[in-house]
Symmetry: C2
């Protein structure tokens, strides 16, 4: 089984590469991004630079591939600023990957990194029955792909699974295009002994997962049995801002709260989350706040 | 206000043209299809042949247009047989219409003919809270456009509304690409005094609306106040096959039932339908079976 990882130079992509490197039982891995990703020092890995908006590049990238973990995307803030670019990458290039796989005379598997952004406004609880109503370009395109993905297994050759990822921490400082950057930046401030001003209040709640845990979940998905094109919301640890601050900072007074109403509403008001469907299939969050912080500090 | 009707040579498109011709209060109407549609004898109407998969044709078609009723689509059976064609027309061309309107420096309105095909498998009841889970290519693309449409009002210039149409009767005999053709063909058999074999059982249930009523609903939508990009399931008359047969045929023994399990499941098992949201905005079905049959006989 040859596995292709798209977006492999990105934060989650690099974590997935390391998770795959820890799995000697798996076969060849092709890492792909616009710039050639860094491959682990492991003979099974190769790295390729390709632009997925180029149909010829997509065909080349998929040659000989049996399974795909598709991470490449334009993030939320950048998608909102440039809906046409989001359509080209987040929608069209993804559909082209699926269509190219479907046109081949061999079965393949497609693990798609969707996002909790599909939910839009969040009610009192989110669970496996919550109907997605995206409210930003990024979430709309993610949801459109989920629907398309569900249509492929019936056509015959592409078995797919969409996983909705929560907030993944701790992304590198200054990782562009993310409105939720504060969720990661506070980890860096704590690690570097710096003061930090959170753009949400102390009572803000977030759904978080370490990059290591996200990567393990994506690799787990690639090894599951029959995939039916369905969508799973991954479990996530629901963390209060003040509890995270207390756990991260020796002196919590180093953190100020200056809530931005839009950020608080969009990225600091996550209700309780129930994900029995994903848990029944073996997907896991980081366990508890200490586990999350340890996984972040350890790195992916 | 200049209104563009796409798919205007089609069965519903011609009904919409006639409904617009009955409204002297409305402004210019541009009828568009791959072949030039037949325009009513009315100076407000013009007819154009254009292929909406051609971006230049889309730009020309929208020049000077304030509102669109977008009917052009590849129907369900044809979409299932050729998913790439469905993607090109039902998804890409529709998104291009929206994006082209959005890129202009003027507001516009977009009435989108979606379909009950978005629901896929139907539960014990369908209402305004039922989550769509499309199970065929056609329904998947319709649902993807609904999601995209909801994203545009926030971007600023395109006010949209998606209306989910039920089974529209009576389409011309041999109208290609429709798995639900029997719903229309039985009207023609009755009108022509012919025997007919239904591919569903006597207890089969369907959601039906006359073409005249569908057209009135679409024109009504184009005149509503602020549109928020939302989706409404139109009301529909829920009709049992044997009741329709009894109302249409002087001798119901002219009709045989030879249920095809796939057709029965897909097009003959419609549960009760509740559509309070659409009704509150003035959308209507044909009232009762006699009203439906009268509207079909009268023609659109």
């Amino acid at each position: 089984v040859t596995l292709l990882v798209t977006g492999a130079a990105g934060f989650i992509g690099q974590a997935v590469a390391r998770a795959l490197a820890r799995r000697p039982d798996l076969g060849p891995v092709r890492l792909l991004d616009r710039r050639a990703p860094i491959a682990p020092a492991d003979a099974r890995f190769s790295a390729t630079a390709a632009d997925l908006t180029d149909p010829a590049a997509v065909a080349d990238a998929l040659d000989g591939v049996d399974a795909v973990i598709h991470l490449a995307s334009i993030p939320g803030g950048a998608a909102e600023a440039d809906p046409a670019l989001s359509r080209a990458v987040n929608l069209d290039a993804t559909l082209r990957l699926l269509e190219t796989l479907d046109a081949r005379q061999r079965p393949s598997r497609f693990i798609y990194a969707s996002s909790i952004a599909v939910f839009g406004r969040l009610g009192a609880q989110v669970d496996d029955d919550t109907a997605p109503e995206p409210r930003l370009v990024y979430g709309a395109h993610k949801r459109m792909v989920e629907i398309a993905l569900a249509d492929f297994p019936r056509r015959g050759r592409v078995q797919g699974l969409a996983l909705r990822l929560p907030g993944v921490v701790a992304r590198p400082r200054g990782d562009s295009g993310l409105k939720s950057a504060f969720m990661s930046d506070i980890f860096h401030a704590a690690a570097d002994g710096e003061a930090y001003t959170l753009p949400v209040g102390p009572e803000a709640t977030m759904w978080l997962m370490s990059a290591r845990r996200v990567a393990e979940n994506l690799v787990h998905a690639s090894g599951l049995g029959e995939l039916d094109g369905g969508t799973l919301t991954l479990p996530a640890l629901r963390v209060r801002a003040d509890e995270l601050v207390a756990a991260l900072f020796a002196d919590p007074a180093q953190v100020n709260y200056a809530p931005d109403p839009a950020l608080q509403a969009g990225f600091g008001s996550y209700p309780p989350l129930r994900t029995p469907a994903a848990e029944a299939l073996g997907f896991r969050h980081d366990g508890d706040l200490a586990g999350l912080i340890a996984a972040v500090r350890e790195g992916a």
